[in-house]
Symmetry: C2
Subunit: 131 residues, 2 copies
């Protein structure tokens, strides 16, 4: 059986991205592998065996094209209002908090925040199926 283990995104500035994912979501570096032309940085939280892999192609300065296919990585948090306030305070400019409804059913409460390269992260209130 296959097991999902990581998602990889290409980023321009290793330090900037590592700092973002640490500050915003508490991810830490669990591995870093340096090659001649690129570096791989694996970041993870405490709660789940799934990692974010950052690829830094050395010498790349042009922003990556993000397209309209890939959507986002999502995290759940215990208190989405408090996290929204905290990320606002540290200057990460989260988008507004929204209640996501399907007709009368509340599906979830969340906001989006962009990482330094423009990738979106969805921050969802823990509860229901977002456990």
């Amino acid at each position: 059986m296959a097991k999902l283990v990581h998602s990889m995104i290409r980023v321009i500035d290793e330090a900037r991205s590592v700092e973002f994912y640490r500050t915003a979501f508490g991810l830490r570096i669990v591995d870093r592998v340096d090659f001649a032309d690129f570096t791989l940085v694996y970041m993870a939280g405490d709660a789940v065996g799934f990692e974010l892999e950052l690829t830094i192609n050395k010498g790349r300065t042009e922003p990556y094209s993000l397209g309209d296919g890939y959507g986002h990585l999502a995290v759940v948090v215990d208190d989405v209002d408090a996290e929204h306030a905290r990320l606002t305070d540290v200057g990460l400019a989260p988008r507004k908090l929204v209640d996501f409804r399907n007709g009368d059913v509340l599906v979830g409460r969340f906001f989006f925040v962009a990482d330094p390269d423009g990738y979106q992260i969805e921050v969802i209130q823990r509860g229901g199926r977002f456990g």
Copy 2:
């Protein structure tokens, strides 16, 4: 503490994508939420609390632009050679198996396979830090 819970990609054909992720990686539908303009399908395996979210925007027929920023989702398997053979047999056209080395160090053995919309999935031999 934030917990990584899912990665979202936009796909054109719900049935085609669900069939691919089931056949290739044994993922099953754990939730499906239908809205007026789009459908969300959550798929997961048995091994980890991380899900793949498919978004199907109704009426969309134009292929999504994948850009060059987002890389891939990765899975580990117990026998990457057997999985490569199996996916070849079922017609999913995996790319060739490669040993990924950093100088003399074998980092991993893997192959890539594309999903129906062209998103890449890395299939890695379980072992070492890819557990």
